[in-house]
Amino acid sequence: MRIVVLVKQVPDTYEERKLDVTTGLLDRRASDAIIDEISERAIEVALKHKDSDSTTEVVLLSMGPASLTASLRKGLSFGADSAVHVLDDGLGGADLGWTSTALAAALATTGYDLVIAGNESTDGRGGMIPAMVAERLRVPHLTFLDSVEITVDRASGLRESESGTLTVHAMLPAVISITERVPEVRFPNFKGILGAKKKPITVLTLGDLGIVPDPQLASVGRSVIVSTIERPPRAAGVKVVDEGNAGSELAEFLATEHLI
């Protein structure tokens, strides 16, 4: 079985993240770029299946700038077999429509039995790419899974939504996405870290994918940013040390502010 894991490089959530207020795009200089934690969990789901079936091949697929290589090597160090990097200046500032078009074309190139993604990235938080890719590939989507079981011909699991908790399954090939309820990724061992340097990373351009930006991307509805405003940082207000009556004083404050 070939499992392709969609991986995203994101700004580290432990640092302050910035947008460029003139373009509305991510300011990549402002914070370190790391592999998203939810992508790591998606890799773990694939590796767990590989543990039980050594014929399973785990391929990482990502789209991003040249600096993405470091995140792909990190992903490979956990135990994935190879990676595919969609890299093209024509994809700078790509929105969901473009991104899903490029990823679906890359999946058609690599081949797949199962695609696993995180439910949403920590930066864009759209949560759209898995289902969009599924629609472009004309396969089922099985998203927001809190647990996953993979067999030779199907993926199944538990899914929580507004309509309740469901047990669901999809016949393969399919695209699934997982939530942070699935286990954290394993630690890479020494052999994994050394081996990651030698594992193949295939770079694909739009040309390699047979995508001509105009008209193929231009015919898709596009999200265009019209303004970006940085909110002024919150200032600290009153800070008191409890000397026995802070609870009563807080009630007084809340009453004055008409909050109780």
Partner: protein, 324 residues
Amino acid sequence: MSNILALIEVTSTGSLVNTAPGLLAAAAKLGTPVAVVTVAPGTGTALAEELGTLGASQVFVAECEQVGAVLGSPQLEALVAATTALTPVAIVVANSADGRDAAARLAVRIHGGLAVDAVDLRLDADRVVVTHSIFGGAYVVESVVEGGIPIVTVRSGAIQGPVAATTPTVTTETVTVDESMSSVIDAVHEVATSSTRPELREATTVVSGGRGLGSKESFELVDRLADALGAAVGASRAAVDAGYVPQSLQVGQTGSTVSPQLYIALGISGAIQHRAGMQTAKTIVAINKDPDAPIFEIADYGIVGDVFTVVPQLIDAIQNRAKQ
């Protein structure tokens, strides 16, 4: 006015999901709100009436044999059919799991453009302008869609309904799904929603607890304060990871994003990921025994003290005021 479709979600037991009023209010800001609802054949009448009371001018009832049997596809086909029949200028859906799946597949199907996690929207010279709150509210971004119908997912609680009740016109159409492209629902385990507290993302007051509560048992202090204030209960990721509360209560980068009038953080240090989920609250109160906790940097009212002495006193004071 132009038609604006609102995808209304229905629970597995057939009642409206509580995002319906806000979605119809969002649609009404742009044009004529049309509720699109997917039901098993012959079961749409009561829902259509209820949607009228929430302000839908028209209800597009899509009857589908596979409702409840397959995941998402009936809702997708309902939106495709309604788009063909009613030529909307925009489509709004909830930024929920089901809503996002429907929006994502619809955008591909009709060559629409997505605007995700809207906290507001407006019509500006025939353009739908969508407001987004990025990186936990650090940035406010406005976007439009060019070259296709805008499909907007709306953050739960961001736009409040309901709008004035109407007697809607009801259109019923049958839709079918391609089962080869659908996931299958094998079983439904309905969540016990016995809580009488407000929904976290929509509450005007939220009381959250962190690792400082120390145990699952003592987290009950958060519940007590929440009940004294009529508030929703939230938690930091540390409290969730420690097993004090279920993940559904998590506020932060990877949990719910809340923007209440009052946010009270108990025993929460205020890691940057937690702040990303609550820093747009109007008033922030923090109680923590560590005077250097980063939560104090953004708190309007901070108390350096023990939550187990300050909070019971606060609850007493609130209850005494209520009696006066």
